[in-house]
Point group: C4
Chain length 205, copies 4
């Protein structure tokens, strides 16, 4: 398994998913009231679009940081990566569901946000699985020392914990759950993925 091909395939999936997100913003068209009102009624679509876009964008950045340093790319990593992508491609659909049901409130809004948070949770868990794989001997140019592993796990796993919280909170308040979900990409803008060994000389791509 070559790094290039794993990256090209993953990047293409990220790219298609992130572009499909915007299709949810389409208005119903003529005959459904003034366009200005239609756009204004679409506020939930715009908010969820921004959250999903930022999240997929940051996953892509972190995915890159994780894969880029690896010395070896094998079939197991490719399969773990497919599990990650399984959840990534769910995001456009779940984004559309939240956009439609959030303004209605009630149980439907809760269900929509729980599904949305669950897709992110699955994504976070898959990412944690890939991270564990990278910690095994020989995967990184320099092994991550035992004493910093848990710190690294915590940094990478912070998103997973937040998504778990979002699933739970969505039963009570879908809006608060969305705020938590929106916080994850903001967190990763400022908190870089932990440096996983020096890549110096490790790749020649």
């Amino acid at each position: 398994m070559s790094r290039t091909r794993l990256e090209v395939f993953s990047d293409a999936v990220f790219a298609v998913a992130i572009t499909l997100l915007a299709l949810n913003l389409a208005v119903a068209g003529p005959g459904h009231g003034p366009l200005l009102h239609q756009v204004a009624d679409h506020w939930s679509s715009f908010v969820v679009y921004l959250i999903s876009f930022a999240t997929i964008g940051l996953i892509w950045v972190n995915h890159h940081a994780l894969i880029d340093n690896l010395v070896v790319i094998d079939r197991t990593l490719a399969l773990l990566n497919l599990v990650l992508l399984l959840f990534v491609v769910l995001i456009p659909v779940d984004t559309a569901t939240v956009a439609k049901y959030l303004p209605l409130g009630g149980q439907d809004a809760q269900v929509a946000v729980i599904l949305y948070a669950a897709a992110f949770l699955g994504m976070g868990l898959s990412f944690a699985g890939i991270f564990e794989w990278t910690l095994r001997p020989g995967r990184l140019p320099q092994p991550v020392p035992e004493r910093t592993r848990w710190k690294a796990r915590l940094r990478f796993g912070a998103a997973t914990i937040l998504y778990l919280a979002a699933v739970a909170v969505a039963f009570v308040s879908p809006l608060v759950a969305l705020v938590i979900i929106a916080g994850v990409p903001v967190y990763y803008i400022f908190e870089r993925a932990p440096a996983l060994g020096s890549p110096a000389g490790a790749r020649q791509q």
Copy 2:
């Protein structure tokens, strides 16, 4: 024909097809009953989504294993590869058809699963064609010895035989046919594609 370009094009097709799969999971939206019921009624969509995702994912892994070792990439391979992709891009549509008709049962469910299995069968046959191409002299860094060819063919061709069985079984029981189809990616998770000669020094990408 460069390896890179064959791979980038194929990976992009795989990526778009795998991402389009999830669009079938979209619910009808407000006015069609509680969201929880809509999602529950969608069980067939989720099951077929998982089967199709796993199958396309494993094809991609095997495609990589097959192409990666080749010493030469020519126009004939590009054409065979196009035939493979012809069936790959049918999968999202056939997945949607199964998702819609499986819960209804009867002849429609049979037809839907037969179409679905037939697309996979076409894919399997195309893959077998590419495999045969790789066995010709000068294609692999080390030729596959005569005595292991049939073993290799059987490993690669197992999927094709299973898909043929699925087409036949679907006339009687669409559900059993789906179980067979779902078994193929599970089989390939554990059974690696046969090692096709050592790639050592064979490529400089």
Copy 3:
């Protein structure tokens, strides 16, 4: 302008267009009669799908053959390539139009096939434009000799002439026009793109 980036962008456009083709094959779903009848009524969709898939596939192969040998990739080539892609992305939509209107016959079928042939004609003319660009000095590792230029032009341009014929014929018989359009990729399966100078040592990608 790097060759890699021109190729990745073009390949992604080809890949998305070729995958979108299959979406036209989706049946209307439950409540529109037996699935078997729906599929049978879709014969025109399947035929046009095959024609469009084969055509985009062969364009991709020829595009590769043309770009791969070039010594220089510049902004003018990138703009000519964009004109080519402008017509490539029209193909899925025009394919859908032909699939819908061909079975109805009459003037609508004529208009649909004229639009379809016109998109291919535009594509052929853009390709001819790129080909002319490659004939200028310094573009190929070895200049194409004057005496073989017209032969090369004819080989590359055969498609354009056939598409022009298809546009004209479609006014009389849309079906005969489709047969002509279907003949182009069949022609290019057997007739390779002319060898444009030896690429030996010309690229280090």
Copy 4:
């Protein structure tokens, strides 16, 4: 962050967005009057399709010119690039909205064109942000001299100023605003992106 991965991801997003544009050209299908009339009524779709295609195509060319020369690709650039793509993926949806509402005229046509121009304005501002990033020391093989910076900014920023004008003009005349928007890619066909230091020896991709 490797240049290759930033480019592959960006190119895939550009490619999907540019291909989705054409989907807006689909006619309603049989039962909606003669196909010739449907196509003729679609004039606004064709015009906006051409404008959007040319604009995304030229952004892609300029994006390449900007990224290709950089000595360093970092996380900040990746985030700025994501902001640019956030606006790029809005273009297919906003194109569809203009196509639907422009022929109706009135306030709806104004709102549609304002949204369209605003997406391009956001894109222009993001591009300007990336451009500023490239001016910091160590980003380019040779720093852009102080005295030519404003000239370079003006060249790159011309689009942003025109899009700002288009937003303002759209309140009065959506058609004139569209002419301004259409002028931007025409401008960039003739005005190259400023040469940002010599790339000689600066990259080894």
